[in-house]
Amino acid sequence: MLQRFVEEYSDSAFTFAYRLCENVEEAKELVQEAFFRLFKSWDHFDQSQPLEKWFLTILKNVYVDSVKKFDRRNMVPLDMPVRHEDGEGVSIAETIADERDEAVLDMLERRESEGHLKAALAGLTKEHRAILALCDMQGLGYDEISRVLGMPMGTVRSRVSRARTALREGLLKRTAGMVAYGV
């Protein structure tokens, strides 16, 4: 059973881990740790429960540990408002009304959008990247994310929104650069 689980889930676990940290070696460490924890506690696993959900809980614990281990200095409270570099807060009205969304949309539709996305993702906090990895890259629903991260669904909803706002800010900066250089 364990060997079959490794065959079925090692790729998706690695993809998830890689999206969290964008680093192959770090992703390997995360995945190994998650699987080893699973093997160690295998005897306590209630086999009437789905194994995948249990593994997600373990992965969440590894993720929490990794955030503490790898990114303590860069951690930013998720409740902090998204700010421009000059320190001015971005009001929601300003954000929504921003016509630059057209430029972002245009950029996302281009073939080279992946490079811009990666750069924008790299500028996010670990928490923002993790929640986008779970929601958009892994395709988990809010209820599943709430189980993985151990937070209420309402919190998941607001954190996903904040992470997207931060990502959009990163993309806006890149479009501004593209406009400046006449790309």
Binding site: F5, V31, I96, D101, L108, E109, G141, S161, R164
Partner: protein
């Protein structure tokens, strides 16, 4: 409905995580608000772009390490040392359920029958036993003292003391 405070709702709508009432709110608003419509389009597009972003496959050495660890963990698990007594007992109980009762009974009957059938073959036949007894009776010395079974040769006069002699020899 104002644009203010709509950001979270638009994000949840892009994820199809809104209630029907919230969805109706968003759709009604976006129909009249170009900025929010654009914002929703960006959300949907970035979501799609993130989902299709390439990620490297799990490295071969990682998979190999995990496979070995899984095999070790399975070998060390109590389950791998065979079913417990309780599991074996319940397996027997299910085997003895009425569905299998007739087959089990028939098999038991055949086994017992075969055993009894084999018994006479293993025992000494009656005629052989009687002839051996007759032989023994004919050869038995008249003095009433029995020679040891299997003993041969002429019976000595002090044959009655054989036992005593044996005992003293020892």
């Amino acid at each position: 409905m104002e644009c203010k405070g709509l950001e979270e709702l638009l994000s949840a709508y892009a994820d199809r995580e809104t209630t029907p009432a919230e969805s109706a709110q968003v759709e009604a608003h976006v129909a009249d608000c170009r900025a929010c419509g654009l914002r929703l389009a960006v959300l949907a597009k970035s979501k799609q772009a993130l989902a299709s972003m390439a990620a490297p496959a799990a490295p071969r050495d990682l998979k190999e390490t995990l496979r070995r660890a899984a095999a070790r963990a399975e070998a060390a698990s109590p389950e791998s040392s065979g079913p417990s007594f309780g599991q074996r007992l319940s397996a027997w109980r299910s085997a003895l359920s009425p569905r299998y009762g007739f087959a089990f009974g028939l098999a038991a009957f055949l086994l017992v029958g075969l055993w009894f059938e084999r018994r006479p073959e293993e025992a000494v036949p009656l005629d052989v036993m009687l002839s051996a007894h007759r032989q023994y009776t004919l050869e038995r010395p008249l003095g009433g003292s029995a020679t040891r079974p299997g003993a041969s040769g002429p019976v000595s006069e002090d044959a009655g003391n054989d036992l005593e002699d044996d005992e003293t020899d020892e």
